[in-house]
Amino acid sequence: MDYSVESNLHELINSTTHKWIFVGGKGGVGKTTSSCSISIQMASAQPNKQFLLISTDPAHNLSDAFGEKFGKDARKVTGMDNLSCMEIDPSAALKDMNDMAVAQNGSGGDGLGDLLQGGALADITGSIPGIDEALSFMEVMKHIKRQEEGEGEKYDTVIFDTAPTGHTLRFLQLPQTLSQLLEKFGEIAGKFGPMLNSFTGGAQNMDIMGKMNELKANVEKIKQQFTDPELTTFVCVCISEFLSLYETERLIQELMSYDMDVNSIIVNQLLFADDDNEHNCRRCQARWKMQKKYLDQIDELYEDFHVVKMPLCAGEIRGLNNLRMFSQFLSTGYEPKTDGKIIYELEEQK
């Protein structure tokens, strides 16, 4: 019996087990549009659950995609009761940390407090490469902790609109890296714990070992969750061109080496020129020929993946209405013959 995988994300959209969904790929292939589309479809299909869409890309686009402003605190999307969005702002998060540190150190007279005044900590650490990934990861840990403690808003599924490939891979490596670092630090702290505690000294006298163990436990929890295919999956977004496909292949291999589940690919910006009799210039035909060539290769290469083929629309896919219209094909699949008119039906956003 031939087992053929559906070329849509119906199973994922209606999944009741997934807690973490990452949407990633090369720059400019439609990650934000895809992540917004997946979120909208999931929220519509499961109205009793709460969904959170987080952007971990420092160059945030969620606000532009929905046409409304989102910030570092989760806020519901206008027109949807169970979908919230958040754009992690590294500088704001660092400023919060800085303010907290200043408050803990007390005012004046203390050398460390003077150093931290005026956001010095934020300035120093804000430009460290990888800080964005680290802060996004901290946000994930905070979210898990809040869920366990029953604090704040509870979200059943978190969808990540990630940064271009390299940054995302760094983000996903963090649990492993942190775990190893904490292991080493644990060995050292075990030997020099009391001495380390005395360095922090003064009124604080932090229990370094305690905090480290807590962090280690959280990181282990995240590692477990990220490698459980029932809880976490990665949706790769690409376009039908060599560079994008090659990067997608590398991304998939890298994700597999992290034991992360990846079984869905969204191929965006397809022209389907064969089925468009009205608007079918020579350029479109040439590009479609090239895209078709790679589409056949994708089908051969990823035969056990859900490969969703999405069209290039005439207008921008911005605003909730346009995203709703566009995102339906993630669940049903796009048929150019019957669904072709959607390309010209998107409303123009002001």
Binding site: F242, Y246, E249, I298, L301
Partner: protein, 195 residues
């Protein structure tokens, strides 16, 4: 008896030196004895990897992307296996070299050392007396220990030395030392001329 001792010493010194000169064959010897399976496996994997890489280079990535990518995956897999096999072979070789060093120590170095201590004073041949200064003649006949013991003898047994013999014997210890130095010098000259 003396001839056999000298012959054995000569064989041991020369064999040790030859082994040192042909140390680049050490890997082959170690591979042949200790790590043959590992070396064969590595050779097989490297051959397979090379074949896949040749195959990949012969096709266009853009025209046959799927085939190219499948080859790429196989190459990545084989690469890992080759690295693992190299690491395994390295460890086998290290273990083999350690065993080889022990064998060399037991069969060559230790016997030579034993010979030098046990039969070090055996006379190999003699030189006419007066050919070298007295101190040198003492060293030739009694070895380097005589030099070390000279101050002690001066304190314990002062006075004129016993009359010397007509010929100065050259002991085995000094002879081995001289042979080693000659071989070192020849090696140095040859290396300087070849380099």
């Amino acid at each position: 008896m003396v001839d056999s001792i000298v012959l054995i010493s000569l064989v041991l010194v020369v064999t040790l030196r030859v082994l040192q000169w042909v140390s680049h064959y050490k890997d082959s010897v170690v591979d042949a004895i200790w790590s043959k399976p590992g070396a064969l496996r590595l050779r097989e994997l490297s051959k397979k990897l090379h074949s896949l890489q040749t195959q990949q280079r012969s096709i266009s990535a853009q025209d046959e992307y799927a085939k190219w990518t499948k080859l790429n995956r196989q190459i990545a897999q084989l690469d890992k296996q080759v690295k693992a096999a190299q690491e395994e072979l390295k460890q086998m070789r290290q273990a083999g070299e350690k065993s080889l060093s022990r064998v060399r120590l037991l069969t060559l170095t230790a016997p030579l050392l034993l010979l030098r201590f046990w039969k070090g004073k055996t006379v190999v041949y003699s030189v006419p007396q007066g050919m070298f200064p007295r101190l040198i003649e003492t060293i030739l006949s009694q070895g380097w220990a005589a030099l070390a013991m000279a101050p002690v003898r001066y304190i314990w047994a002062p006075g004129p030395l016993k009359p010397l013999q007509l010929e100065t014997p050259v002991c085995l210890g000094i002879w081995i030392w001289a042979l080693t130095r000659v071989l070192n010098t020849v090696e140095f000259v040859v290396r300087s001329l070849v380099a």
